[in-house]
Subunit: 210 residues, 2 copies
């Protein structure tokens, strides 16, 4: 008997997964939660084998919660549940301890497959995601979405730019020379492949760097 929990702030998604799984005799949905706090609280009483976890929760960032659960309840295997098809995002989730990655358009068969694969201790990825990863490492079509690594300072300046601050204002805020701010901005542009600050913001929002 596999014990399954689900955490998602969308009630209909909770009920959807629950209803898809309840016909399965070897699966027992032991709890459903709408936020991170309730999830952690419930786990102290009854810990599942598998958690379907929505990455976009209201209270905590999903990646952080994945880390926390992996540390506190190492036996729980997490299957991330999102709409993000961005490959770099998938990698980040898996790197942080998740065992599987499912899109919300997944059908019943995929749900069950994910559960059985993860139960065996193997990682599970939905077909469409696998294809994307392949396309990316081979063809590099366009979604060449490798995760650009910004440094601490660059991240600070990125945030400041997104707050519509000028170079002058940023320099005053961070106690550095305007020239330094410009240097960082240039590096950010080149790392993100942007032509100007507008491009920086566009890409930063796309890749959730903010």
């Amino acid at each position: 008997m596999i014990k399954v929990s689900i955490t998602d702030d969308h009630y209909v998604v909770l009920k959807g997964i629950e209803s898809l799984l309840k016909d399965e005799k070897h699966i027992n949905v032991i709890s459903i939660h709408e936020n991170a706090k309730d999830t952690l609280k419930a786990f102290k009483v009854n810990e599942p084998d598998i958690l379907f976890l929505d990455i976009n929760l209201p209270d905590i960032n999903g990646i952080e919660l994945t880390k926390t659960i992996t540390k506190t309840f190492p036996k729980v295997r997490i299957i991330a549940l999102t709409n993000h098809e961005d490959v770099s995002f998938v990698k980040r989730i898996l790197d942080n301890g998740a065992f599987g990655y499912l899109l919300k358009n997944a059908h019943k068969a995929e749900l069950l497959e994910a559960i059985s694969t993860v139960t065996k201790g193997e990682k599970f990825l939905q077909e469409s995601i696998k294809k994307k990863i392949l396309n990316q490492s081979l063809g590099r079509t366009e979604n060449t979405a490798f995760q650009p690594k910004l440094t601490r300072r660059e991240t600070e300046i990125l945030k400041a730019i997104s707050e519509e601050l000028t170079t002058q204002e940023i320099s005053e805020k961070l106690f550095i020379s305007p020239k330094t701010v410009e240097a960082h901005r240039m590096n950010i542009m080149s790392k993100l492949g942007a032509k100007n600050s507008v491009g920086i913001i566009k890409i930063a929002i796309q890749k959730q760097l903010l």
Copy 2:
């Protein structure tokens, strides 16, 4: 007996709503669809009284589909289903023929209330949305998200800016003086309440103006 259809590209959401409604004796879920095309096709054979419609579909923009359905199948009452809490967005949907607006975190009671309200021919809004509208028209807290109306030319220039084009490039593309482009950009900034082009893009993405 109220005939209900559901359209959502997330299978678990479809099953979730279906499972929540199937215990209700006066409600009959006659069909579920994962995209706009299938929905319209199915309606030709069997038309529901109420359609729960996800606004973010892969094939057609949800607002457009709302318009289409309202024209082609005027008896069908649409309840929009999204995560957008933006008030201006709600208004746009309702203006285009929707009868109700539900967030995906809605619980069973709200689903049922939405159905009964809309069946009576009244408009339905989820409580949390109502509150937001109130807060907005009174306090104007921060989410002062009224839909800024951009002109045709402004929209063209907004798109060009988001493509990281410079003023010069935009002027050549649209066969107008660079100075005119700048004037439009200034108007866009003032309409959106942005301090610079970065702000324009940020807000445009937020408000889905692109």
